[in-house]
Symmetry: C2
Subunit: 418 residues, 2 copies
């Protein structure tokens, strides 16, 4: 009957050990975000195919797992050569959030602080660390145009990550903050034309990898004037550890509203209070964040000892409206859940030895009275908060016991007939 | 661009209130089952189409959401008129468990006590309480042929349900237990032919609804001899509150191995110790459980004040082998998660008022110093375990405050500029 034992290509089976780590992380995430007033919502894993292919998903729209129509609708579609799918698997949690908000905003508080944890699917070529089904974890504040949204999002994510990484030896992390409006102002101030900006940002985004000389070379190759290019890269040689307002003082009001750097300074100062030293915070004028839909502040979290990002986000005031026709200011922060799990798996936190795990290994042919006694003892131990498993004693008891010890059982009792 | 606001047909958006209830229930379920040594696993939501359509899924195979092939594979399939799907959404958690066990049994303990919580999909006609995406929650013990498996499964489920329903006023519940081998023996002992048994059980299953006379009439309509039918229904008039062994004493060894009722008596006695009065337990010779794959004990949980089932399960020693080619004794218990959530929603448990929820409503144009102070106070309150949300003060403050009070905020503070 052609039974296939492996999971579908690019998707994972999670063993008990994997799940323990994932669930522990998820509990910590839920708990921390709840303390900041974020409230969890959930949408179906499938979305209408019209919504998924509405040109708001960029490259992800090429990676949709489409769900086939059924019955007469499928026959009709095949006959007429119509679209064969009526729905598809969601490729992110932002599109479903937009639809959810459009459908439910009347009954939701405003601003609405949402937490979403869920699987998304992308028919990408599978590779190390990239899966076709993976978990995303997003917080978003909809309906708040003020910087309170940024402060809450960054503070909550910083606190959550500090808790998640505590005791693992992974080391600290830094939250980088910038603003798309500052990015634009810097580029326009040296005379780069508007139409080159997206490419300029793509090049600047490689600064870490190719260095200042590399960025210069690519900007020149883009056809930009040498003088402008030199002026531009000189900006990033400036000390950015001063206040954002001070750093931006060279940008005239023509290019940048003073309120933008002032707001960023306030965000930095207030998040510092929320974090209370648990994470570093930094204005980073070179931070770009690839997504074109950001309209204001952008953030990214990098591990200090590994040069990669584990979370990112920003303000996207125009996106919800594009989906739902209703303009709504919005700001969000998304953690790279699978990436974080991979790091946590490689850096197990010290066991806290809570509870205690007990195994009763029961020999065959036990009398009913003796069995009752065993299950009563198990019930009592469970009432004390212990994990108790009652299992048949195997012929190869040594192997069975070794295995249980590996799984963290510290009290293993063999019970024979008297 | 044809944006559709409603979720895909038959699927649900869960609002914050829905999610709070669901997550609270899931935490309780995870915690209780973990105390019994069950370990959570997870499989992808999609399975190979060959596995889903392997004739083990019964009626559910007609309800599969199929996932379209992509790229060149799709073009080829369309050209040749081949199967258009390469995978589909799982319709239950048992088929994936079989595949998971076949793929991973070498690294899993034996017996393996699995907990699975996950969504399944069925393209059923949506109706009240029946959805096209819904959560299943199963525990299974694989590789244990002894009655220890039944005792652990029933004890764990009974304890878990007692915890879930506590304080809701829903009232008690009763765990009904029977054995397919006793069902068979009763029917064979009165002379019903083997080939009629499945239909006999389908008719007996309606006893609750159509009464003894109704069952008699349907059995006669099935063409069974009147004397046999009378003898059969007389069995169910007998007192079943005695021990199972005593109840079954009229069945000769030819039809029933004595060890079956003795085993059931031991299961009942030991589960009683595990439950410690938290739930009622009852041998029910009329319990059938529809699924043909059960091979031994069967269980069902019914609410005392509502005549419907909220959980069911049993032993299915031959099923895993059919999928995976590897014979593995298996026994499982599945709760009707969506049904339980519906009941819980209609019977909210008394609030325990834990933690406390605080909202700071901040007027516009606040100074940076004042804002820092606010976020510092928020951080301190969160460190005390409180939920704190910092929001912009809306023009319609009264509406905003009423709404927050509805959402359980007990301390709401308006903060203005000095």
């Amino acid at each position: 009957m052609g039974f296939v034992k492996t999971p579908v290509k690019g998707m994972n089976d999670f063993l008990p050990r994997d799940m323990e780590l994932r669930q522990k992380a998820l509990s910590m995430i839920r708990e921390t975000y709840a303390a900041f007033g974020f409230r969890e919502i959930e949408t179906p894993c499938m979305e209408h195919i019209e919504n998924l292919t509405g040109k708001q998903g960029g490259e992800n729209e090429k990676l949709i797992f489409k769900v086939l129509k059924r019955g007469a609708a499928l026959s009709r579609a095949l006959e007429k050569g119509d679209e064969l799918a009526d729905s598809g698997m969601r490729y992110d949690l932002t599109l479903p959030l937009s639809r959810f908000y459009a459908a439910n905003s009347a009954t939701l508080p405003s601003p609405f602080k949402a937490l979403q944890i869920g699987n998304v699917w992308r028919a990408d070529q599978p590779q190390k660390g990239r899966f076709r089904q993976f978990t995303q974890c997003d917080i978003d504040i909809l309906g708040d145009a003020s910087i309170l949204a940024e402060i809450e999002l960054v503070g909550a994510t910083g606190n959550m990550l500090a808790k998640l990484l505590a005791g693992t030896g992974i080391g600290g992390f830094t939250i980088h903050i910038n603003d798309r409006r500052i990015l634009r102002a810097m580029a326009l101030s040296v005379g780069f034309p508007e139409e080159n900006l997206e490419n300029v940002f793509i090049i600047l985004d490689k600064l870490d990898k190719i260095g200042t000389e590399g960025v210069k070379a690519e900007l020149l190759a883009e056809g930009l004037a040498e003088q402008a290019v030199n002026a531009y890269t000189a900006i990033f040689e400036k000390d950015s550890s001063v206040s954002v307002s001070e750093f931006c003082s060279f940008l005239s009001e023509e290019f940048l509203d003073r309120k933008v750097p002032e707001g960023l300074d306030t965000i930095l100062a207030c998040v510092a209070k929320t974090l209370d030293g648990k994470a570093k915070l930094k204005f980073d004028p070179t931070l770009v964040r690839g997504m074109g839909y950001y309209t204001g502040t952008i953030f990214e979290v990098k591990l200090d000892e590994y040069n990669f990002s584990i979370a990112g986000g920003g303000r996207y005031d125009e996106m919800i409206g594009k989906f739902s026709g209703q303009a709504v200011p919005a700001c969000g922060f998304s953690i790279g859940f699978e990436r974080i799990i991979t790091i946590l798996r490689d850096h197990p936190a010290a066991e806290n030895g809570e509870g205690g795990k007990v195994a009763f290994l029961v020999a065959g042919g036990m009398s009913e009275e003796k069995l009752q006694e065993i299950f009563l003892r198990a019930a009592d131990l469970r009432a004390e908060g212990k994990t108790v498993t009652v299992l048949p004693l195997k012929k190869n008891a040594k192997f069975q016991i070794d295995r249980l010890m590996e799984d963290g059982f510290t009290q293993i009792e063999r019970i024979y007939n008297d």
